[in-house]
Amino acid sequence: MPLLPPRDLPLLSLLALLSACTGGFSDPSRELGEPVSGPATGRVEIHRPPTMGVLDTPLEDVHGAPIGVACDTCHGPDADGEVLARAQDNPEGMHQGLEHRHGDLACDACHDPDDRRFLRRADGSRLEMPRAMELCAQCHGPQHRDYQRGSHGGMTGAWDLRRGDRVRNHCLDCHDAHAPAWSQLDPVFPPMDRGTVQQRTADSGSH
């Protein structure tokens, strides 16, 4: 498998060959569909992970899903302006079970120490939870760029934004903020078709 430097791709020859298909249609008007023109009006929406800014409790709702509480239940000021969590000094051992394997970042690298409802940027400025992607972006530039170019993070909906909308995944749909590495999973769907099983090791081909 020879590796091509990106700019040496046979892209031009590839485009040139497009019209090379043989055997025309007896009704030439059937060959192509309707042209599509106009601006790309499709909306690109980023999915918002439901967990964002919510702490799961051991309680479950009727569907068996954990009931979440907002950070400010404990970290927000109460009627007297007192921050409960701090006052308590964590007797319940809150968040102790949190699995944290993300470089060797401290909690406060990402969470605003003065108000836990917020995240914080590297320069110390405050960031709302729903804008968490900006947090990831400041340390993972290449992945964020790839994401914006559509080659990281996947999507559903339309490839052609002139004809439909698109939904993008959020970084947090795939990466746990505290343990972002991918874990292993079981593959689905072992191939059973005759061709595949026969060819399983027969792919020696020219290589």
Binding site: M1, D27, R149, W159, G164, W182, Q184, T196, R200, S204
Partner: protein, 300 residues
């Protein structure tokens, strides 16, 4: 191609193949004639049909599917969008070998349930090698394994498609948007194309596909995911029933890792063009000169 010349091809094949091979090659037709309605036998090549005639064929196929499979489906004939040229790229750094793509293909394209057929085969390959001869497709989990990488393989929609050239009856051809299609009602099941494909991307329908009515995807197209008859070839069409409407292919949407990038090679602003111009890209078996439209790439 007229029906007469198709019959001539049968004859010519008999002459060059020898009796045994010829019998095997035409077995699909001889043995399963009861499956073919008179209409289908009389049907002309897809490209020879006028607009109205095609509609008759489509409605007849819908009726037949409803009768055979007990559910109503719609079979359309989306044509290539002028100026659009499809390309597909897959990020080997990200793919974890979970086979969700193969599963999505199976469901989307109305594949036979018993054989778990899919147009996508995922190869598990030793890291640091490009040794496809030691690759396996029937690996177990959990994935990804530390010493392996994973390469899903499906039709590369080559611009010099060896499979098209060997078809004795012109039942398979390349369309203006780059997709290589099969006319299942014209295919004689000789399987030359399967042998000619260096990527093992074509499949043969050994049996009449069995799919429970409630699992059938009713959104079908003549040249893609309508339920294939027994004894004909089939292959990935980049989900043309979706992509020609502007939608993404089913395997891309199903990928949990976001390894797949699809789009219009003619559009300089497209995601696929960005990958081709900015990533380390290669094609499989480049030395064969097939000019695939399916690319693989690595993140740096």
């Amino acid at each position: 191609m007229s029906d007469t010349s198709r019959r001539t091809v049968f004859k010519a094949m008999g002459a060059t193949l020898g009796a045994g091979a010829f019998a095997r090659a035409i077995a699909p037709i001889v043995e399963w004639t009861e499956d073919l309605s008179l209409d289908q036998l009389l049907q002309r090549h897809y490209k020879e049909l006028g607009r109205d005639e095609l509609q008759v064929v489509l409605r007849e196929l819908e009726r037949k599917t409803a009768e055979d499979y007990g559910t109503s489906v719609s079979i359309a004939d989306p044509r290539p969008t002028p100026g659009v040229s499809f390309g597909y790229a897959l990020n080997l750094t990200m793919c974890i070998g979970c086979r969700r793509c193969a599963e999505a293909c199976h469901i989307e394209n109305n594949h036979d349930r018993a054989t778990d057929n899919s147009y996508i085969r995922v190869l598990e390959i030793d890291k640091g090698t490009v040794n496809l001869s030691r690759a396996t497709a029937d690996y177990d989990g959990p994935v990804p394994k530390a010493d392996k990488y994973y390469m899903p393989v499906q039709c590369h929609q080559c611009d010099r498609p060896p499979c098209v050239n060997v078809c004795p009856v012109e039942a398979t051809w390349k369309e203006a948007d780059g997709i290589v299609v099969v006319d299942y009602d014209w295919c004689i099941g000789c399987r030359y194309c399967e042998a000619a494909c260096p990527y093992h991307a074509r499949r043969f329908n050994w049996t009449k596909p069995q799919i429970p009515a409630e699992e059938i995807n009713p959104d079908q197209a003549y040249l893609s995911n309508r339920i294939r008859p027994q004894g004909v070839m089939e292959k990935c069409t980049f989900c043309l029933h979706r992509t020609r409407r502007g939608e993404l292919p089913a395997c891309l949407e199903a990928c949990p890792t976001g390894s797949r990038v699809f789009g219009d090679l003619n559009d300089p602003a497209s995601e696929i063009r960005w990958v081709l111009e900015n990533k380390r890209v290669f094609v499989l078996k480049e030395d064969l000169g097939t000019l695939p439209r399916f690319f693989y790439f690595f993140d740096e």
